[in-house]
């Protein structure tokens, strides 16, 4: 399904429409009245209100079900589109004076302008995310071209066409195409029209985007990330419990999900005692939450059985569908997911040297330590490349927080200066 200037088309019309796209975009950019954030905010707010009243439940409920998201959480997510939140987002990301930047020098005005045209290459890992990515682009005043992820269930097109129904002026700023990732030349054509390419997805998607963009195109990479916990001997049982709950609740599939626990020690004995302490709590939280999917438990059990036979690791704790593997190395890595963690030594003096190699991949660190050492450790972690330091719940969300260490609206805009 294609959404082009507010109208729906079949995929067969794709090449004809792309041929016309450049002309239409230039027309929009040449228009006298640019898109105002206030218009976007008002349209999003009306849409959010309808969503909150259950208007999208027919599409949303099956998705929530398959992602294991509660209806309350969905209502929270919808809240991200409300006027209050979007206004706050503008102020936080672009500054309280985003609409009236002070002049520079005597005679020069300064203003925040959109990048121009954004090409969003969306990933299929969260439904509704492609539409959110476009909404952010609109908020910054850009023309947006969206490539739907494969297997998109139609939610994005519906949300965006409803947004246009709320504010018909948005029609010229939203283009959605269903180009498969294999049509590289078509994607390249779309990328060539854009000032910025917003890429959601793992390394393969990021690399492909780099290949299709000219050097004069900005790439905004929302890549896949790795997160972990860092515990010192002062980590409390409550800290460990929050961490265990987080691991069970997210199944470790999110960018912010904890994959393993680093312990501030060089001693295997200390490591083992923390591992055993954590494992007891891990089992309790697992029992409280209910075990995860049997097919995933089976997969992990077989993998761990293999590890046991190979005797590569000093200790494997495996019970009731949860597991913790003590490892001798210190490399940050992915776990087996679905309630399996690695536990490794990482003395604080080595935090930077060990983690720095993963630059660009690190996201959240759940820091479990005493109050007196928290600032020092957080500082080291940040210098090593971590962008978020939390407690045991690594995936907690706060409205207005940065995305992977940056504010999207800043990425989607330019600062322009005009001599008067």
């Amino acid at each position: 399904m294609i959404l082009y200037r507010g109208k729906l088309y079949e995929n067969g019309e794709q090449s004809r429409l792309i041929d016309e796209l450049e002309g239409h975009i230039f027309e929009t950019l040449s228009a006298r009245e640019p898109l105002r954030p206030t218009e976007v905010i008002a349209a999003c707010d009306r849409l959010a209100r309808r969503a909150r009243e259950g208007f999208y439940d027919d599409l949303a409920l099956p998705l929530l079900e398959s992602f294991g998201i509660s209806y309350a959480r969905y209502q929270d997510m919808v809240g991200a589109f409300s006027a209050d939140v979007l206004k706050k987002k503008l102020e936080i990301e672009l500054g309280a004076d985003w609409d009236a930047l002070p002049p520079i020098g005597k005679n020069t005005a300064r203003r925040i302008a959109p990048l121009g045209v954004l090409f969003h290459i969306a990933a299929g890992n969260v439904d509704g995310l492609p539409a959110y990515s476009v909404a952010e682009g609109l908020l910054a005043g850009n023309v947006n071209i969206l490539k739907l992820p494969s297997g998109d269930g139609g939610l994005s097109v519906r949300l965006l066409s409803d947004l246009i129904a709320e504010e018909p002026r948005l029609a010229d700023y939203i283009y959605v195409f269903d180009v498969p990732a294999t049509e590289f030349e078509t994607l390249k054509r779309l990328a060539r029209l854009a000032d910025g390419v917003v890429v959601w997805g793992g390394d393969a998607a990021q690399r492909a985007a780099r290949d299709m963009c000219g050097v004069n195109t900005k790439i905004i990479p929302w890549g896949h990330k790795l997160s972990f916990a860092y515990a010192t001997r002062s980590a409390s049982d409550e800290d460990l419990r929050a961490l265990a709950r987080h691991i069970c609740a997210t199944e470790q599939v999110l960018c912010s999900s904890c994959q393993g626990i680093y312990v501030d020690t060089a001693d295997m004995g200390v490591l083992e005692s923390l591992a055993r302490r954590f494992f007891t709590i891990f089992k309790e939280e697992n029992a409280a939450m209910g075990r995860t999917d049997p097919a995933m438990r089976g997969r992990n059990t077989v993998n761990l059985l293999c590890d046991e036979l190979e005797r590569c690791f000093p200790l494997i704790l495996r019970e009731e569908g949860v597991s913790a593997v003590l490892k001798e190395d210190s490399a940050p890595e992915l776990s087996y997911l679905f309630r399996n963690v690695w536990i490794k030594r990482l003395p604080r003096a080595e935090i930077v040297s060990v983690l720095k190699g993963q630059k660009g991949y690190l996201q959240t660190c759940g820091l479990l330590c005493g109050a007196g050492e928290r600032a020092e450790l957080a500082d080291l972690l940040v210098r090593a490349g971590v962008v978020r330091v939390t407690g045991g719940d690594l995936s907690r969300t706060i409205f207005g927080e940065a995305h992977d260490g940056t504010f999207p609206l800043r990425e989607y805009t330019r600062i322009v200066e005009i001599d008067l």
Partner: protein, 371 residues
């Protein structure tokens, strides 16, 4: 004659009750052999505190260390010098790693006797010249197990012709569905029976395509559709057996009685063929244990868990108790076909395909690679 030799000479291919003692003796013999000839296997037994002589009752089979197929993909364990293994088979390596399994002459002889008996039991032998359509590729030296077994399959009835559906191209294998469609339509006009062999998914896609194109033919009498290899990466597209049979009858005029499905694994080369009620009964040459997904403890009949396959067939490698990546159920009694041996129901592979994640590298891990 050795216990293994006697087991594989057993004339009733599904007599799991009558072969109870013999199977145990054969497993003991096989276990001793590998303990003596394969050092890593001996170490595994020692670590587990298990000796071949501990195999005294059927319950002891569950205590025998079980090795995951993944272990064989990462470690090569041979109980005979590798160069003395005339046949080598490579698993399809879903998710990257492949295992190489080598067979010695004695093992191959056992395999052959087993295959002959099981095919005879299922009336798969025929003297009628037959046209074969293989949903695979032409076998070559060192090719995958699937290709070799597909070729072996064309020996069941004299082959007039063999058509292969997968074309080897630079970027992998591409199924040529158009060619198959044309051949099937052509063969339907002839008198010689046709046998197709391939993954259920490919067969299903072809049937669906022919249905969509409005093609309906009736293949000559005695034609068969044979399926093997499971749904693999197409698990999400899996259809109920009834729907599949209905489609096959509609498009090719082949009734349910002439659709047979096989199950087997490179690491467990025992032929499982489905009965008239489409159940995989356990042959006398093997046993199946279902294990708890968390504790690996053996489960009672009727309960779902990890599928552990046992056989003393192989001399070249310690493949006597392997853990597959499959989830399944073992059913005890009540199969309408009358076969008294327990039957195995495969529920699917461990791990699910459609997990969405944004954790760095998670896609590879979920596909089965090593992090």
């Amino acid at each position: 004659m050795s216990a293994i030799g006697r087991l594989f000479s057993c004339k009733k291919p599904y007599d799991t009750v009558g072969t109870k003692e013999l199977f145990l003796a054969a497993m003991r013999e096989n276990c001793s052999y590998h303990a003596a000839h394969c050092k890593p296997y001996r170490e595994i037994l020692e670590t587990a505190g298990f000796s071949p002589d501990d195999l005294k009752t059927e319950e002891d089979l569950a205590r025998l260390p079980v090795l995951p197929t993944r272990y064989f993909k990462r470690n090569q364990l041979f109980s005979r010098p590798e160069k003395r293994l005339p046949v080598k088979v490579t698993s399809s390596g879903t998710g990257g790693a492949k295992s190489v399994v080598g067979f010695d002459v004695k093992t191959l002889w056992h395999e052959l006797k087993m295959a002959v008996r099981i095919c005879k039991f299922h009336h798969l032998w025929s003297m009628k010249p037959t046209r074969y359509i293989i949903f695979g590729y032409r076998p070559r030296k060192n090719s995958l197990g699937a290709a070799k077994s597909a070729f072996a399959f064309t020996l069941l009835a004299p082959a007039v012709s063999r058509v292969y559906a997968l074309e080897r191209r630079e970027d992998g294998f591409v199924p040529d569905l158009t060619l198959l469609r044309e051949k099937l339509v052509k063969y339907a006009k002839g008198r010689l029976p046709v046998r197709t062999m391939g993954f259920p998914a490919y067969t299903y896609f072809l049937l669906k395509e022919m249905q969509a194109a409005g093609i309906r033919v009736t293949l000559p009498k005695g034609s068969m559709i044979c399926l093997g290899g499971g749904w693999k990466q197409f698990y999400a597209e899996r259809v109920e057996k009834e729907a599949f049979y209905k489609l096959a009858y509609e498009v090719l005029g082949v009734d349910e009685g002439h659709i047979v499905e096989f199950f087997g694994a490179v690491e467990h080369p025992i032929l499982y063929a489905d009965c008239s009620a489409h159940h995989f009964h356990v042959p006398a040459y093997a046993r199946v244990l279902i294990r708890d997904v968390d504790t690996l403890a053996p489960l009672d009949m009727g309960r779902p868990g990890l599928v552990n396959l046992l056989t003393p067939a192989i001399q070249s490698m310690p493949l006597l108790s392997v853990m597959t990546d499959d989830l399944g159920i073992l059913h005890g009694e009540g199969c309408p076909c009358g076969n008294k041996s327990p039957w195995m129901e495969i529920l699917g592979r461990v791990g699910v395909k459609d997990v969405v994640t944004c954790a760095q590298g998670a896609e590879e891990v979920l596909k089965g690679g090593t992090p």
